[in-house]
């Protein structure tokens, strides 16, 4: 039997459940009780909110205390993130740094890099972007062409990165580049550099407006952009392994099934206390999906907690979660009683406009299904 199917049961420890009410109270105090729209981790940029979270110790929660981290479990981080997302809190500014850049530095970074970056991230004052995709490299990430040529004291970077969310306002971008290698393998000679988005010369960041009219993601052009030697992450040429491990953190969290959650909430408000049988069934189906997905995602948090690398399990959560998220607005528009509050309509329309990205960002549906198929031994 395929091992990827084993999502062991996890009961959230009391410490995590205790944190839940703390987070709820914090959200109520910080953001007030007004009804909010979806908390899109890619778009909802609010540095002040991120700093407030940092002050509470809720960024870098699982990281070692010697860097200022919380030294807490993945279960606590899970609860903290799901509470924020469900409440529609603006978590976008620090999200990437907390979810994957920090863990990458903890795993592969130098001691000096950890000491320099981690405390700033933890304080909610240092935000990261992802520099992976390029104009000709999307799903086929190993085909990236941006180069880093060794020069005195560092590297000269040339090329273009694309879809880098927040690069126009974040501090750093971990950039996947080709460095010199003797090997013919397309996975060889890849390296990761931390690029200072605010102080580098030879760097142009151009926001790209998406179909919803927001300028969230960017084109980042490097023209002889100098990056100091101490900004290399891990070993030169080890970039493929590093980037793959980074993606593991990216795929199983609650952000993979909560992107449309506020639509669900507002739909319930529209339907009211006396649903028709059809409305009740449709709402209950969404609940059954969400509860099961959440259960699976918590199980993956348990795998991370025991230092496993649940690549296929994470892909399954993302595959099921993204499909669910995309369905939510489609369902809501058909079962809402008609008309609807301004908040319902706005939340629904926002979600319809952003839904195409759900099954693309962090690995397309097709790529993830390919990874699941590999887990089944089909390829």
């Amino acid at each position: 039997m395929a091992t990827a199917l084993t999502f062991d049961p996890v009961t959230l420890p009391p410490a995590a459940e205790a944190l839940r009410s703390e987070v709820r109270q914090f959200v109520a105090e910080t953001l007030g009780n007004e009804r909010r729209r979806n908390s899109d981790f890619g778009a909802s940029h609010d540095p002040e909110f991120s700093r407030a979270l940092g002050q509470r110790g809720w960024i870098g929660m699982t990281w070692p205390t010697k860097y200022g981290g919380g030294g807490r479990s993945f279960f606590e981080r899970y609860v903290m993130t799901e509470e924020l997302l469900a409440a529609g809190a603006p978590v976008g500014a620090h999200w990437i740094a907390d979810r994957q850049s920090g863990p990458l530095l903890l795993r592969y970074g130098t001691e000096a890099q950890r000491e320099f970056f981690l405390p700033k991230i933890i304080a909610g004052e240092c935000f990261f972007s992802i520099g992976m995709s390029e104009p000709d490299s999307g799903s086929d990430l190993a085909s990236v062409r941006t180069t880093a040529t060794p020069v005195e004291g560092g590297w000269l970077v040339n090329g273009t990165k694309l879809w880098s969310s927040g690069a126009h306002r974040n501090h750093y971008m971990i950039t996947l580049v080709r460095t010199p290698t003797e090997s013919e393998s397309r996975h060889a000679g890849l390296s990761q550099l931390i690029v200072d988005l605010r102080n580098a010369s030879g760097l142009t960041v151009r926001p790209i407006t998406n179909l919803a009219g927001d300028a969230e993601f960017n084109e980042v052009v490097f023209e002889d952009c100098f990056v100091p030697a101490d900004r290399l992450v891990g070993e030169p040429g080890n970039g493929w392994e590093q980037v793959t491990s980074e993606l593991g953190y990216e795929r199983s969290g609650p952000e993979r099934f909560l992107s449309a959650f506020r639509v669900f909430v507002e739909l319930l408000r529209e339907v009211g206390p006396k649903p028709t049988d059809h409305q009740a069934a449709v709402l209950g189906r969404m609940a059954a999906h969400m509860m099961t997905l959440r259960n699976m995602s918590i199980s993956v948090a348990g795998m991370l907690e025991s230092n496993r690398n649940p690549v296929v399990e994470a892909a399954l959560v993302k595959e099921l979660g993204n499909n669910f998220e995309r369905e939510v607005p489609e369902i809501a528009r058909l079962v809402a009683p008609g008309g609807g509050s301004a908040l319902f309509r706005q939340t629904l329309e926002d979600t319809i406009l952003h839904a195409p990205s759900f099954t693309i960002r962090g690995g397309t549906r097709e790529i993830l299904r390919g990874m699941i198929a590999r887990g089944l031994g089909l390829r």
Partner: protein
């Protein structure tokens, strides 16, 4: 899972691999009662897994015993495994040792509509546990010899197993109650959970068969598993199977908790949905071969189609969940979903 359960699962799996091949399932569908298989299940103690040791059973708690039902799905076990396992645990209260032997089935008021749900394996059962609901929602049981009751002409359900409608004969004589199912709602919930666990097992098996077939069948000069179109379908099937397994297990884990009724509704609704989608993909991957009687895939998929409708189909349990959410209101949705009100 406790050690006894783990050991039972392992020996049951070994037993079923040999004792429940396709030929046995075919015989049942041809109308022949599988007495040899029944004897082996009985000898291993599987059917009395949840009967206390003092009464000759294994003494597993219900949540542990019900995990055995995944094997009933995985091997398409063509006997009333769930009914006997659960029925004996309930019938212990009758104080009649003889009812703890022989094939048992359960007659329970249907979750929808009036009257009793069609009774699985009624023509072959020695005992029928008849549940009767009092106006206050409580349930009393009678455990009666099958021949004392009147049933309709037997018919074959989608699974190819015999079933019949209870027409009369119950109501006279003494009755008893059981702390395991004090209300009709709990009895129906436990039966729905049993079907969710069985569906999860049948889905696992359908996935295994599909993967094996895709790796073996060649077209255009290579295994069809090498085609992305096929890989993508099998990945979708895997997601459905994983979700059904997790939902069914979550139902078992919740047994005895204040959230059990919700978890069982989720389990039946989610596994039922996975059953339909999963059976469709498994058949598509198997091509015409899987549409033959000769292939064993239909022993799993016909059970999936049967079980998803028994004791409340998806829409029924979804509506139960949906009405509860509507009653709680929009601002209680998240606390309701997370069980953290």
């Amino acid at each position: 899972m406790n050690e006894t359960t783990q050991l039972m699962l392992e020996s049951a799996e070994r037993l079923l691999r040999d004792a429940c091949p396709k030929a046995v399932v075919d015989q049942v569908e041809a109308g022949q009662r599988p007495d040899a298989l029944w004897t082996e299940l009985e000898a291993l103690g599987l059917l009395s897994a949840c009967v206390p040791e003092a009464q000759g059973g294994v003494g597993l708690p219900l949540a542990e015993g019900l995990t055995l039902l995944r094997l009933a799905g995985r091997y398409a076990v063509p006997v009333p495994f769930a009914e006997t396992l659960l029925g004996r645990a309930l019938a212990v209260e009758a104080g009649l040792p003889e009812v703890l032997e022989g094939m048992m089935t359960i007659a329970v008021p249907a979750v929808q509509g009036n009257g009793y749900a069609s009774v699985p394996f009624a023509p072959w059962a020695r005992w029928v546990l008849v549940a009767q609901e009092a106006p206050d929602g409580s349930v009393s049981f009678q455990c009666l010899p099958q021949e004392q009751l009147t049933f309709s002409e037997p018919r074959k359900g989608l699974a190819g197993e015999p079933e019949a409608l209870l027409l009369g004969g119950a109501g006279k004589g003494s009755s008893f109650s059981s702390p395991l199912a004090p209300t009709l709602a709990r009895l129906q919930g436990l039966l729905a959970l049993s079907r969710a666990v069985m569906m999860a097992g049948a889905l696992e098996s359908a996935l295994d068969l599909s993967v094996a077939y895709a790796l073996e069948r060649k077209q255009f000069g290579r295994e069809i598993a090498k085609f992305q179109a096929v890989q993508q379908q099998l990945a979708v099937l895997t997601g459905e199977v994983a979700a059904a397994l997790r939902a069914a297990d979550a139902g078992l884990e919740a047994l005895g908790s204040p959230r059990e009724a919700t978890a069982w509704a989720v389990a039946k609704a989610r596994a039922g949905e996975a059953a339909g989608k999963g059976a469709e993909i498994a058949h598509q991957v198997h091509g015409a071969m899987g549409f033959t009687h000769e292939h064993q895939l239909h022993h799993r998929t016909r059970r999936l189609w049967c079980w998803r409708d028994q004791h409340g189909h998806e829409a029924y349990w979804q509506a139960v969940l949906g009405r509860a959410l509507c009653a709680a209101g929009a601002d209680a949705l998240w606390p309701e979903l997370t069980g953290s009100a």
